[in-house]
């Protein structure tokens, strides 16, 4: 099972742009780097901070701005909740299997999404947005 780490070092501008859209900004603290990498690969494509993305749009529709629609900007997520949704799915989001996201990787995602905001590698703008919503 390989850890999927996408690092945009010297990659084409397109890869950087795709990563920038999918990734949540800068560098996470070392203990959350794996979780951020797995999140970027498996979650950010629907949950990054853009209303053009299915997950973020659905959560914006659900919460109407009461909490940030982008998962990585939230401070109310517990690893158990993350695990529940990943393994059980919700609405159009089907569950993810262990051959896609292992239990260890899932724990890492949960740790990342419940990490202190300033350790998640968010951009300055994202950090400001997340803090304002607290």
């Amino acid at each position: 099972m390989k850890a999927q780490v996408v690092v945009a070092l010297g990659a084409a501008a397109v890869l950087a742009a795709l990563s920038a859209q999918a990734a949540e900004g800068g560098r996470a603290a070392p203990e959350f780097a794996e979780g951020k990498a797995v999140y970027d690969e498996w979650c950010a494509t629907c949950h990054a901070d853009s209303l053009g993305l299915a997950g973020t749009l659905a959560l914006q529709t659900k919460y109407q701005g009461a909490i940030p629609a982008a998962l990585a900007l939230r401070t109310d997520l517990e690893p158990e909740v993350v695990e529940y949704f990943v393994r059980n799915g919700v609405a159009w989001m089907a569950p993810f299997r262990k051959t896609e996201v292992s239990d260890a990787q899932l724990a890492a995602i949960g740790a990342y999404l419940s990490a202190p905001l300033d350790k998640r590698g968010l951009t300055a703008a994202e950090l400001a947005k997340a803090k304002a919503a607290q």
Binding site: A12, V14, A17, A58, A91, R97, K98, T99
Partner: protein, 509 residues
């Protein structure tokens, strides 16, 4: 099986098996929901062979999945309940990318996202053709006959494959085409080898576990242009489609065309085509075009500009024809351009299409998923209009909600595909009614000579039944092949309506 793959990779717990359910199933939580009894995840071909041999010896039904993300057509769940899902996601190597021959060889666990990343990271000059959404498997999508959005040779994903390796039901390893010639370097160059061409045996079938597949890839073009021409009479539709066909088949444009109707278009819905007088009146009143022929071009700027000029000349014969020229986009895409374009047209995988379900649609509550109805209809203006009318009328009569309706999709160059997306809810009464209605639609389409090219497991028997020429000889021959290659019937029982002998009697649609 644990000894073949290791205990960590055999799944039987309720929690694990929940992740193998068809999340968009029209049989959710009903006794007939197609559910697996277990899942096994091999890491390599040898483990696949060991699992298959063990299953064959014991008569254990297997159901191979690649990435299992075929939502809308069955997902990760088997067709035959109780099967053991053979989850090939761990086999995720890009074995080779050949720049000079513009081809690749991949394992089933390689998703379009994985391949795109690989091509970018290695500085490849090759493009991928992706479906929408793009998280599926290149192998799995091709085997279910998925399609994409770039240049013609690459849009039909099974047609773009070149070279298949599969584990047969007795555990033997089989290679198609030049793969059957030891030491050949041409496995991804010439599909057919010698004698009967057997790669079709694996498309939508139950005759082997595909462990490798080759694909032809598209050398990155220099530029992209998307243009359209609007015409303003109902009567233009037949000559318009014929002209588009002529231009496409003589290589005047190489990208994906479309035939739409601005005056009838409502979001992702193509409304019912009215009678000519009414439609022409609507056109006059609204000023919107009756029909719009769109084409996309990939190539050097001077070439595609010349092709577009020629296309405009040919369309000048239509009264009031109005060309619309898009912006020429140089490739590779800049980060700014990436934000604006439709990614699938550029071979970039994305999941943005799922956002159509995020708010619910129209009068519908947000649904719990969807299924696709996808019929092959004639590549003519007459065919398009007739299929549009019949489907819109019958869906309205039967009360089938649609949130997407596109009668003239052109993934394949020589036919149209009519796509209709139907919302699914995790509600038994709603699903039961939906199933009955879709079965009715299948019959109505068959009566018109329109057959589905792909469908979810709940309807596979009915669709195979509808291909009834000569007393269902298609299914009968498929059954003979099945009995010969998989006499114990252990692989993908029931897939697309082909059942092994011991399960054939008394099966329902």
């Amino acid at each position: 099986m644990r000894s073949a793959v290791g205990a960590d990779w055999v799944f039987t717990s309720e929690g694990d098996m929940h992740t193998y359910r068809d999340f968009y199933s029209v049989l959710w939580d009903e006794p007939d929901e197609r559910v697996a009894s277990a899942a096994v995840a091999p890491a390599n071909v040898e483990e696949v062979q060991a699992v298959v041999r063990a299953a064959n010896a014991r008569g254990i039904p297997l159901y191979p999945i690649s990435t299992g993300r075929n939502l809308g057509y069955g997902g990760a769940a088997p067709v035959y309940s109780g099967s053991v899902v053979l989850d090939l996601k761990r086999m995720d190597k890009v074995i080779e990318v050949n720049e000079g021959n513009a081809s690749c060889l991949v394992e089933p666990g390689v998703s379009y996202f994985d391949m795109y990343r690989h091509l970018q990271e290695t500085g490849s000059k090759l493009w991928l053709d992706v479906p929408d959404p793009g998280w599926g498997s290149m192998v799995g999508n091709a085997l279910d006959s998925g399609g994409g959005y770039t240049a013609a040779p690459y849009r039909g994903h099974f047609e773009a494959q070149c070279g298949i390796e599969a584990v047969l039901a007795d555990g033997e390893l089989f290679r198609t085409g030049m793969g059957a010639m030891p030491g050949s370097e041409t496995w991804q160059q010439y599909r057919m080898g010698i004698g009967p061409c057997l790669d079709g045996l694996f498309r939508q079938s139950s005759l082997g576990v595909v462990t490798k597949m080759g694909f032809w890839l598209f050398p990155q073009p220099e530029a992209y242009l998307s243009c359209s021409i609007d015409v303003f009479n109902y009567e233009d539709i037949e000559p318009l489609v014929d002209l588009m066909n002529e231009l496409e088949y003589s290589n005047i444009f190489n990208g994906m065309p479309s035939v739409s109707s601005p005056v009838l278009s409502n979001g992702m819905m193509f409304n019912e085509v009215p009678e000519p007088a009414k439609m022409n009146a609507m056109v006059r009143e609204t000023g919107k075009a009756a029909w719009r022929a769109s084409a996309t071009f990939y190539g050097p700027e001077k070439v595609i500009r010349a092709q577009w000029e020629y296309m405009k000349e040919r369309f000048a014969k239509f009264e009031g024809a109005r060309p619309n020229e898009g912006e020429l986009i140089k490739l590779p895409l800049s980060p700014e351009a990436m934000e604006k374009v439709s990614k699938a047209r550029f071979g970039i995988p994305s999941l943005e299409i799922f956002s159509v379900g995020s708010n619910g649609f129209g009068d519908f509550n947000p649904s719990d998923g969807h299924i696709w109805f996808s019929a092959i209809i004639p590549r003519t203006g007459k065919g398009l209009v007739q299929a549009n009318r019949v489907m819109r009328q019958e869906c309205a009569r039967l009360g089938i909600p649609l949130f997407m309706f596109s009668p003239a999709v052109t993934c394949w160059t020589r036919s149209f595909v009519l796509f209709a997306a139907v919302p699914v809810y995790k509600d038994k009464d709603s699903n039961k009614a939906l199933r009955e209605k879709v079965l009715e639609i299948i019959k109505i389409c068959a009566a018109n000579g329109w057959g589905e090219y792909r469908c979810p497991p709940a309807f596979q028997d009915a669709v195979m039944d509808s291909y009834s020429f000569n007393n269902n000889i298609l299914r009968r021959v498929n059954e003979k092949i099945k009995d010969a290659l998989d006499p114990n019937g252990i692989i993908s029982a029931g897939r697309y309506g082909v059942w092994p002998k011991h399960l054939r009697e008394g099966r329902g649609a």
